[in-house]
Amino acid sequence: MTPMTTSSSNSALRELISFQIGAQEFCVDIMSVREIRGWTPATPLPRTPVFVRGVINLRGAVLPIVDLGSRLGLQMTEPTERHVIIVTRIEEQLVGLLVDAVCDIITVRDDQIQSTPDVASDLVQQFVKGILSMEGRMISLIYLERVLPDREAEAA
């Protein structure tokens, strides 16, 4: 879709997958996405933060599901069959992100990504790596490495 000029500046092109949570739009680097699948009921884990919805069976592997909306301080998702799990690879681990819907694949130059505005929310500062503007939409780039709870502890 998005046409890009190839002879642009020295910054590299990258592809991102954008998705919706509530009314907001977010994206992650396509290279960290392994697959996208529909919601299946997760087995809840005891003694875990609320945003960890539990684990599901991903062809034999046990995959934790993070409710990204809840993680970002938005509302808890009430998952239905129409909800989507984006399976991402975060360093050595596979993690499923529960989102409302996947929008599209966008190609951007690094210099199109603006730094996160200095807004009040710590959560925003923590999880949003940068934002970009796309045909009038604002899309936030998720800081994947900080999504899992123990990584959060490391970062703190």
């Binding site: 884990l45 960890v52 995959l63 681990q93």
Partner: protein
Amino acid sequence: MDPLEAIKVTFFQECEEQLSELESGLLAMEQGETDSETVNAVFRAVHSIKGGAGAFSLEPLVRFAHVFETTLDDVRAGKLAPDNNVVKVMLRAADVLADHVRAARDGGVVEEARSQELAAALEALNGEAPLAPIASEDLDDMPGLEFIPLTVSDDDGFGDDFGFTPLSAGIIDLEPEGPALRRWTVQLRPKNALYAKANETGLLLRELKRLGDIQVSIDPAELPRLAELEPEQAYLAWTVVLTTDRSQSDIQEVFEFVDGDCDLTITADDVPSSLPTLDEANIDEPFDVMALIQQAQADVQAAPAAAIMAEILAAPAPAPVFAASAPSIPAPLAATAAAAGVAPDAAHGAAAQQATIRVDLDRVDRLIDLVGELVINQAMLAQRVTESGVPRSSNIAMGLDDLEHLTREIQDSVMAIRAQPVKSVFQRMPRLVREVAAMTGKQVRLVTEGEGTEVDKTVIERLTDPITHMIRNAIDHGLERPEVRVAAGKGPEGTVRLSAAHRSGRIVIEVSDDGKGIDRPRVRQIAIDKGLIEVDSNLSDEDVDNLIFMPGFSTASSVSDISGRGVGMDVVKRSIQGLGGRIAITSRPGQGSTFTLSLPLTLAVLDGMVVSVCDHTLVAPLTAIIESLQPKAQDVRAIGPDAYVIAIRDTYTPLIDVGAMLGYRTTPLDPTKGVALLVEGEGGARAALMVDAIQGQRQVVIKSLEANYRQVEGIAAATILGDGRVALILDVDNVVAARRREKARSDAKLAAAG
């Protein structure tokens, strides 16, 4: 990894194999099997280690291996009778050699005194034949220890491949001038196998040249016409007239690595000779094999030969035998040299063994995972078909049955790939027994049975420590001193028996001794002294025996080096339980004790009790469950504000509501509406776990939670059920201990309040 490092890794892997071969060979010799095959196997093992170590300049290892090898050579030559004493020294030498190998691999240092002592002991065995002086400074600049650039031909691509150059050449150089020169005729006709194993005639000839002056002639009689020439066939034969002061065995040694891969005759001409040699050049100068060939061609004087020669020389790749760029490489080698990443010393001894391959463990694990998924998928499919109401007798249902059998078989076969014989653990024990016996001054014979019993690799890895501990205990505590044994009417030598067998889907390992058995009054007294039991407690013999598994129990009156630090059997028991196993003891006073370990064959599957807790399905490991029962209202008593105990045969056991504990419910379950699982956790602590209902027993495949998430308190792992959903496996130890932690917390709260 750089190629040299990679070869080194292979070398150390092979060393381990050689060491175990060495040990089993020596043990066979100890049993009286001193036939030449056994002795040769032992010799070969040491020789190969020395050869490889030389290539990597591992000098302490080379030095020790050399002394060892010299002694073994005497045995091989019949100069030294391998009686019991000799073999005993050699067994200890093998231990030191193993230490040297490990030190070289892991960068440690072997205790110099011990190494020296055994080297001296070995040298003493050699008797009248003192060693060739191998002083360390000589070794340092021994050419044989380096990667020798092969000057015999253009050595493109050879450098690393011949890393395992036999050391013999270097050592021989150091020997003093011998007496009379003799002339030998060596006839060498390589077979295909010689080249296939990346050996090369040119190198052998050069080795021979190191022994003295040589005259080489080539016999091309069997060389066919070019059209009939098989590029990978060995056609040429060599005749070498060697003038040397060395013995026949020295000459033979040159052909050590090609033994059996060539027809070799060595005959003495018995004429002291100083014949001029064909090639006056020094050792490092290449052999002019082309000259030999041409000379041979002239000898044959066949007219067509010249034509063929021309044809061949003109011919490109298909017949590189005579191509000028590789004068001394017969075709097979040219073909294999590039691929010859393996050490040439793999050439011997391998033929008789079963063909095996080394496979990356990750690949096997991946396969096991996939088969696990297949099993789950098959179960899901079967469930759906049943749900859809297809009759049992229909083709679909019958096909599914076949599929189920197949998947089971695939699963078993795949699991078998990871299975290894317990031999690798058992093999370490003879050394341990020798050491402990020497330290305690007892005479011990170790008998092992069922070494071929196979069990999953992960289980094997974690078996060594418990078995080591039990054998130490058996010798240190179980067996009596020789004089005591004789007084008791037994032989002075005690027997420790280590056996393994498969029994009903588990592996059973027994460690038994014929010692004095457990001294029950003493065990009882110690337990009372240490406050482990009440003075007046009424215990059966079995109960007393089991006291030794209690934490902090140690019967050794003096804390010895070997066992008895008070971390004994309870640690063993815990590690066995950690493997999902059980341990039992039987003992008869005066006749000995037997420890029986029963372990699952693999850690990848677990026998589980599938239970429901508030609409969730959980799995409890069957090994932890003692019994299950339905509590009656009068058996459950409240103790304190929110804690409950249950009376099971007059013993009050804490009651844990699993659902509440894991946060699945906030209002506690009515005990009379659920089922209690009586479990035993670490250290023997018992608790009754309340669940809603039992669904049944099932073997489940263990899936790690940590792989993609992290450890969760109270949960050991996860598994996937037949419906494709994830179920959590309870960590019973943690659940039982968590109750205590909570208790401690509330105690602290009370203390703070008071």
